[in-house]
């Protein structure tokens, strides 16, 4: 019994139709939108006007630099922390499951409760400041000072995603043969030396993966600034993702918002490519 040629296409049809309607169409449409100006129902083609506006838009540049500052500080710190935690857990004999779940929990915590708790803890008279004052330090204006607000965002992000990356590393570590570590300890290498010369090089493709995932996530960063600071004070924590949201859904400027979206797409593509090159993605 020979399968008729059209049959595979029939089976593929639902997926292709859904993919076209919900993915391809929006991508194409928002690309077209990025060349249009106007609001709501009456959009007009305006050539590159939105892209020109982008170059002169000081708020866009500010949001871009905010995003990159957060990216440059947060992603390396978080990934390193995740690596350290993962290798500590990996060498743990007992209670590994408990710690694994504890560290992973933040990644699956509901966003609403997470943000409420953080904004309560970081408030001017919140728990964190009460602790700081109890040990004789000065209270920190976590959410109201331009620099500290960025720190607060980084703190929250790190809390939420470190465990997630740790899990990926833990999985990767299962594939590092024990013989490597045995040989290393026979040669007299300590735990720290082993971490840097065996664990990290062996995990390189996985570190690349998490770095790219985290970079993409941070470039689209929206939740934390939206819930904790509303991008403030004075745009100090305004990210591109948040500016995109404001432009589209608060100012109804869907054309310019689509332009911003395409900027993010290009940035993600370029940065991912650079990371591939730097970490030498040979395979």
């Amino acid at each position: 019994m020979r399968t008729k040629a059209h049959v595979p296409y029939l089976f593929l049809m639902p997926a292709i139709v859904l993919f076209s309607v919900f993915t391809v169409y929006p991508i194409v449409y928002s690309f077209l939108l990025s060349f249009q100006t106007g609001a709501g129902g009456n959009m007009k083609y305006a050539g590159l006007a939105n892209y020109r506006r982008l170059l002169e838009d000081s708020i866009f540049w500010k949001s871009l630099s905010n995003t990159f500052i957060i990216l440059a500080v947060q992603v390396p710190v978080m990934l390193f922390l995740a690596l350290v935690l993962a290798s500590m857990l990996h060498s743990l004999v007992r209670g590994r499951a408990f710690f694994r779940i504890s560290f992973f929990m933040p990644a699956v915590t509901a966003l609403v409760s997470y943000s409420i708790i953080f904004s309560l803890m970081l408030a001017g008279d919140g728990l964190v400041n009460q602790l700081l004052e109890a040990v004789g330090l000065k209270a920190v204006p976590w959410l109201s000072h331009p620099v500290w607000a960025k720190a607060a965002i980084i703190l929250a992000l790190t809390w939420r995603w470190t465990g997630y990356n740790m899990m990926i590393y833990l999985a990767g570590m299962q594939n590092i043969p024990d013989s490597l570590y045995e040989a290393a300890s026979i040669d007299g290498a300590g735990k720290i030396r082993q971490f840097f010369t065996i664990t990290i090089p062996q995990l390189r493709p996985i570190i690349l993966l998490t770095a790219i995932l985290s970079t993409i996530g941070t470039l689209q960063l929206f939740d934390e600034p939206y819930t904790l600071t509303r991008g403030g004070p004075s745009d100090a924590t305004l990210t591109i993702g948040m500016y995109l949201y404001q432009t589209g859904f608060r100012y109804f400027d869907f054309g310019y918002a689509s332009t911003l979206a395409y900027v993010i797409v290009v940035l993600i593509a370029v940065l991912s490519f650079v990371q591939f090159r730097i970490t030498g993605g040979k395979d």
């Binding site: 008729k4 409420i116 331009p146 004075s234 859904f249």
Partner: protein, 450 residues
């Protein structure tokens, strides 16, 4: 040969099916808009003689839902064929869905939608054909039933696009016991200077802050003060008014209270409510609608509350202002515009409906004829027997019109930044001038120079 021919037939069939779906959607929606715009009279007459059952849909949030549901029950006594399905959607979700629906040419929108007054002009500007022209449907005859500022907010170029519902005449909700403990007589407070001195006294004696503010994310207090002074982000021509000496005066007033550590920094609405409940602030300057929250959330403080009007900026100056309030709009895509209009006109202009909404849900009416009800001269025991509704209703005619424009959201963001800068130490005039520049470059509007 035959294989590829079959494939061709299959693909053709698929294309036909898909295009039939698309075409069907298109034709039905165009039929709807055609029917409603070109022949609204015919649709009303057909519903008039046949009395076909009509189900209206509405989007609203919070206590407004209950008010709508009770109003439809009152309406159905004379109009049994009209029924209403209210979808209780969160406030911001209503706006998200409304914006998306309007951008999609009216797809999926209800017949009635609640919109806050500060957003009405923004929607009208962004979607000029998105909403039903209510003057055409006959709403002009009711214009004199509402105070001027509310009329200005619900109409554009003399045409009504929204039906006024509640308002937020402002007042200082204060704790009688805290004032007494500090030995401050609230009746003696007439100006902001008076209030500043009283607040210092209260802070010294009781450690309680003067009022709460979400210093870095919201500027509600600043907006009330501007409105009170007869200015706003924009003037009536839509020019940016951040450099107006009165706007600077309002910001200076905020700074003065901030510098003296009299403002409790709170996180959004929840923070304000918890400050209200735990007694860490002596007053809460807000719209009349805050009454509902106080009696609901701070039950154990019954009898300890009072209200006085916002202090004036100089002796004998204006003490009336408004914060918040909303109105009803009818999307142009509605298939039952006439029925929706008739019901909402009933809702908006019938004193009994407005008094019900006020009594049960704390929604302060804009309808001037509603104030004749004995409710507005009654003593409110939760507020120590004070006639607070009389206070608010007498304030209504004196409220200046705030000019929001379509760029209100951007202006709000820039004003909040200016306020954040001021609380972080910048000079108010300087911070506002910078905000004016940013706002001008973002909106292309002119800045008034003084």
């Amino acid at each position: 040969m035959s294989k590829s021919w079959k494939l061709f037939v299959w693909l053709l069939a698929a294309v036909l099916v898909l295009s039939a779906c698309g075409g069907g959607g298109k034709s039905s929606s165009s039929g709807a808009s055609g029917g409603s715009s070109s022949s609204s009279s015919s649709s009303s007459s057909s519903s008039g003689d046949a009395q076909d059952p009509v189900e209206l849909t509405a989007w609203a949030w919070n206590v407004n839902v209950g008010a709508l549901n009770e109003a439809i029950a009152m309406y159905q006594k004379d109009h049994p064929h009209v029924s209403l399905k209210v979808e209780d959607i969160g406030r911001l979700d209503v706006y998200d869905k409304l914006s998306t629906g309007l951008a999609a040419g009216g797809a999926g929108l209800p017949d009635i939608v609640l919109v806050e007054d500060d957003r009405i002009h923004g929607y009208l500007d962004a979607f000029p054909n998105g909403f039903a022209n209510l003057s055409e449907l006959g709403f002009d005859q009711y214009a004199d039933l509402f105070p001027d500022f509310k009329k200005n907010l619900t109409s554009l170029d003399g045409v009504f696009y929204a039906m006024p519902f509640d308002s937020g005449p402002t007042g200082m909700f204060y704790r009688r016991d805290i004032f007494e403990q500090a030995g401050v007589n609230p009746d003696s407070i007439e100006t902001w200077d008076d209030f500043f001195n009283a607040a210092l006294e209260i802070k010294n004696k009781t450690g309680v802050y003067a009022f709460p503010a979400d210093k870095f994310k919201d500027d509600a207090n600043f907006r009330m003060m501007m409105n009170q002074l007869g200015v706003y982000y924009f003037d009536k021509d839509g020019n940016i008014d951040f450099k107006n000496p009165k706007v600077i005066q309002a910001m200076n007033n905020m700074k003065r209270f901030g510098d003296a550590d009299l403002v409790k920094d709170v996180n959004g609405w929840d923070g304000t409510v918890s400050a209200t409940v735990d007694g860490s602030v002596a007053t809460i300057p807000f719209g009349a609608w805050y009454y509902g929250t106080i009696i609901d959330q701070a039950k154990e403080t019954e009898g300890k509350w009072g209200v006085f009007l916002l202090p004036a900026f100089e002796k004998g100056g204006n003490r009336a202002a408004n914060l918040g309030g909303s109105s009803w709009m009818i999307p142009a895509s509605s298939k039952h515009k006439e029925e929706a209009y008739q019901f909402m006109a009933f809702f908006s202009t019938t004193p009994e409906v407005q008094i019900m909404a006020m009594e049960k849900y704390g929604l302060f009416p804009s309808l001037l004829t509603a104030y004749d009800s004995p409710l507005f001269t009654s003593e409110v025991s939760f507020f120590g027997g004070q006639k607070i509704w009389q206070l608010f209703s007498e304030e209504m005619p004196d409220i200046p019109t705030p000019y929001y424009t379509k760029d209100y959201a951007i202006a709000f963001d820039e004003a909040v930044k200016a306020q954040a800068d001021v609380f972080n130490g910048k000079d108010p005039a300087q911070a506002l001038a910078e905000a004016a520049e940013r706002l001008a470059s973002r909106t292309g509007r002119a800045v008034n120079e003084y």
